[in-house]
């Protein structure tokens, strides 16, 4: 049993392949066989720029024009991708999860439980589910808070949430609170989260 080739091919490759089949290929096949599980590219996601993106353009015309030009699907796509890059680069997703479970009253706190369909898109490749919630879940964050709230919160989280342990990110804003390219992108991305799924209750029954 414990010969070289058995170890390499049966234990090494074989057992790995069985696990790969059961934990990766099977769920992948199931998920793709569901109705309506079409993959959305970044262009498809960005077809209609969000209300918050338009508001950012109106409120900070100089910075917006300099970095993104006008409000178009292309500039919206650019901001979404860049915002996600910053979110990943700063490891935001290690303290904020992005999926609402059907247990622990999470639907009361954050809204509808996550479904597989809403992750079938370019901005969830790779997914950013996370494994730790130091801060609240962000899967339903889009539209919950105003852009101004986010700016105040990024510059100094304790100014709006007194007991917050989130680090401040003032370097994405100038001294007047005008966001730079990364600041606009980050807020655009946060305001996008959860908007793929229609019918999400925005009203909060408890303060997250």
């Amino acid at each position: 049993m414990e010969r070289f080739y058995t170890l390499v091919f049966i234990a090494g490759v074989g057992c790995f392949a069985i696990a790969f089949l059961l934990s990766m290929v099977f769920p992948w096949m199931s998920l793709y066989s569901y109705h309506g599980m079409d993959y959305q590219t970044l262009e498809q996601l960005a077809e209609k720029p969000s209300k918050e993106f338009v508001l950012l353009a109106e409120k900070f015309p100089d910075s917006f024009k300099q970095h993104y030009g006008a409000v178009t699907p292309q500039s919206y796509a650019q901001a979404l991708q860049r915002g996600r890059d910053v979110y990943v680069g700063q490891a935001c997703w290690h303290c904020h999860s992005q999926y609402v479970r059907v247990v622990s009253n999470e639907h009361v706190r954050w809204g509808a439980p996550s479904s597989a369909q809403e992750y079938q898109n370019a901005l969830n490749q790779p997914h950013l589910w996370g494994t730790r919630r130091v801060g609240p879940d962000l899967a339903r964050e889009g539209g919950r808070k105003t852009n101004d709230w986010h700016i105040a919160h990024f510059i100094n989280p304790k100014s709006v949430v007194p007991h917050s342990v989130m680090p401040p990110y003032p370097f994405y804003f100038d001294e007047k609170g005008v966001p730079d390219a990364d600041g606009i992108a980050l807020i655009t991305y946060l305001q996008w989260l959860g908007t793929v799924q229609a019918g999400i209750p925005v009203a909060e029954r408890v303060t997250p």
Binding site: E2, R3, F4, Y5, L7, V8, A11, G12, V13, F16, I18, A19, L22, S23, M24, P27, W28, S30, L31, Y39, Q81, V88, G89, Q90, A91, W93, H94, C95, S97, Y99, R101, V102, V103, S104, V108, R109, S114, S115, A116, E118, Y119, Q120, N121, A122, N124, Q125, P126, H127, L128, T131, R132, R133, V161, P162, H163, V165, P167, F171, T207, P208
Partner: protein, 474 residues
Amino acid sequence: MAARTGESLVNYALIKAHLLAGACLLVVSMLAGYLYSLQFLGYYPFSGSILSPGHMRLMHTNMAAYGWLVNGFTGMLYYVVPRLTGKKVLSDKLGHLIFWAWQLIIVLAIGGYLTDKAQAIEWGETPTGFRPGTFEMNYVPVDLLVVVGAVLVIIQFMTPIYQAREQKFYVTLWYFTAGLVWLALTYLMGNIMPEWMLPGAAGAATTGLFIHDLVGLYVTPMGWGLMYFFVPLILRKPIWSHSLSVIGFWALAFFYPLGGVHHFLISPIPDYVEFGAITTTIAIEVVVTTVVVNFFMTLRGKWSALRTSMAIRWFYVGAVFYFITCFQCAFQVTWMFQKVIHFTDWVVGHAHLIMFGVFTFWLFGVIDWLWPRVCKREWYSESLRGWHFWLWSIGVGAMFFDLMIAGLVHGFMQRDLNDWSDILRMSEPFWWVRTVTGVMVIAGLFCAIYNMVMTAKAGAAYQEDKHYIPAQAD
């Protein structure tokens, strides 16, 4: 003396380099963890994008795995593989190349984390070098270099194993042979598939499998392999049961990788996959028990070794921690526990116990036994060895219990719809304990490194027999 044959096959310079580099990178990991923990207490000293707390988190986890464990295990392999096969590793020059290439990879990875280039794969944040999901280059492709490095490591150690293929393999070599194959497959799967091929839930199943396989199919085989080698060697008696070794190995190979999806339970991943992962994870507990029983039965009749041999003490305290972690696995993997403890500090405590309490303890055992041999000098200070051991045992143990309770508090408060700020305020005392125990562990590590350096410089003359337990029973 059977134990001394094959010493001439070993390249001690490479072992020394890898063990010392590993220990230094462990310092980097621990200091990053310490800084990150200060953020939770409101005393984070730096501002600015580069030294942000998020980047410290990436450094902490990745340096523990790629900086410390990979270096430590590679150093250990340079001793064990030639001894067991009776053949030299492929090439000493290749060994030096691997050593420097690996440290370069580490430096490039750190550069990537600090400049926002991390990949969005937990524990695989080594930069891909490309913008997410595209082939537009924005940094050095560290992932690719890691694959090249892993292939070189495999060639280096598989050569003597292959040359010895006609011999009857000892259990350590089963683990190392399969573990090296698994390392390459796991790394390729985890870093490529979710990034370019699998979005969303299917990608999550794959990254779950990746985190799991990295620990289960690389770190665990290396850890058990070294235990099977060093424990009988130091105790001068054979392992208690060969049959249990066989069961332990094949059950690990079969069951362990099947549990990958348990990192994302009650998620959009199909339920039948979750149930499969839960069942096999509980099955792993049976395997773990057989292996732990085998080791404790081996120690029977030689309990005084825990007093006389520091290496044995590291190994067996590590084994106790291993049993606690895996016992915890069997429960926490159920949905009943998951709905409370997932997303909380419980998971963090679990990860700390397995990485720092188990595999780090075993590698410290290896360092404790190998370092005098490598330097041809006795340990410089006995009391520093003791401080190192006790600071780590108490520090890691206390941190684990602290984070476990913190996780329960967080989990139940979250379920009971408490205000999020209240959850943070209730967690704060636990985070203080975490930082204090972290400082203990760092202090222990500094004792160890100072002792290692001084041993190399000014230790007394080496006495071979001091490091084995006499053959007769107590």
